[in-house]
């Protein structure tokens, strides 16, 4: 019995949950598909610490509707622009979608400034909200959201959480959570949609976020 409890604790810690879970007043949207996970109860994302690209404090709760967040970085030439192009295409084609907002959270605050993120997102869709903040605030959010990230030297494979001056000069890769994070209007993290993030899957998801 004791052994089992220990094991369960380990699992919860590894999952990054087991902190404070909320029973949100919003019910889980009526949609199931492969790679789509819903959580109930679920963690509330920290309300403070990050800013949008206009310098305003960013809040995860948004009474008008759900938030779809993507965690990426602008030095990413392949997966991130590919995903943002899909999201932009879905946004421009979807009709009668419930109110929602798309948020890009930079997991590379050491290189991504608000101006860089703004220009990067506007290329795809001026409506995308860019968010960045100090590393401590980012770590708090990504832990609660289950959106892990770390940095890696492309040659040695060494992994680190904070790039030093040498890494900044040489350049580094960012390993980051590849799923969309779905946040309800109260700011509670309710789901993950894992890749492939194609137009069809993303459209079905957005239409279900009532």
């Amino acid at each position: 019995m004791k052994k089992k409890a220990t094991w369960l604790t380990v699992v919860l810690v590894v999952l990054g949950v087991g902190l404070v879970l909320w029973n949100s007043r919003f019910s889980i949207p009526d949609l199931q598909m492969p790679g789509l996970q819903w959580f109930d109860p679920a963690p509330r994302l920290p309300a403070s610490g990050l800013e949008d690209t206009e310098g305003r404090p960013f809040r995860w709760d948004w009474p008008q509707g759900w938030t779809i967040a993507f965690f990426g970085y602008t030095h990413c030439p392949d997966f991130c622009p590919d995903t943002l192009a899909v999201l932009a295409r879905v946004e421009s084609r979807l009709q009668n979608a419930p109110p929602h907002r798309l948020v890009f959270v930079s997991v590379d605050p050491y290189r991504d400034t608000p101006e860089i993120i703004r220009g990067y997102l506007e290329y795809f869709d001026a409506g995308f909200i860019g968010v960045v903040g100090p590393p401590e605030a980012l770590q708090a959010v990504t832990t609660e959201a289950g959106a892990f990230y770390d940095y890696e030297d492309p040659d040695s494979g060494e992994v680190f959480r904070v790039p030093d001056a040498k890494a900044l000069e040489k350049g580094y890769l960012v390993n980051h959570f590849g799923a969309l994070v779905l946040v309800d209007p109260d700011g509670v993290m309710r789901g993950h949609l894992y890749p492939p993030l194609d137009e069809e899957r993303v459209s079905r998801l957005i239409l279900a976020l009532q």
Partner: protein, 146 residues
């Protein structure tokens, strides 16, 4: 003697053919403003009877080029530098979004849709393949054609 010569010639031609790698569907994704990294995609075909290895790539239009592979592992998106990519005999390898790509780092001058990127692929025998890849725009919006 005649037979012998013919045999040598056929052998030579076969080995030249083996290294005759074809490159098709090459393109480079246009980068958003300020983004210092771009990705190049193409398909390599090896119609020969021997495996060929892609060892390196370069371009005069970038400070640095690497061979990378993107993947999603346990929900994590990663890119990994590849020392080489093996092209099996009679096979093909597709470089595509979310998989193998040429990591084109720090363009000397900003490249836009319609521009051309000159690439040089270096194979294990020291052979070089010249490739010209058009830059294509894919920002997802409806208002602008790609």
């Amino acid at each position: 003697m005649k037979y012998w010569l013919g045999f040598v010639l056929a052998g030579f031609m076969a080995s030249a053919w083996a290294a005759q790698v074809e490159v098709v569907d090459a393109w480079v994704r246009e980068a958003p403003p300020n983004a210092p990294m771009m990705a190049g995609y193409l398909t390599l075909r090896n119609p020969g009877r021997e495996a060929v290895v892609l060892m390196d790539a370069r371009s005069p239009q970038f400070k640095k080029v690497e061979i990378h592979r993107s993947s999603i592992e346990n929900g994590m998106a990663r890119m990994e530098k590849q020392q080489k990519v093996e092209l099996p005999a009679g096979g093909e390898i597709r470089f595509h979004p979310g998989g193998y790509h040429l990591m084109l780092m720090y363009p000397v001058k900003r490249l836009r849709g319609g521009d051309r990127v000159r690439l040089e692929l270096i194979l294990d025998g020291g052979e070089r393949l010249e490739v010209v890849a058009p830059v294509r725009r894919d920002h997802g919006g409806m208002g602008h054609p790609h």
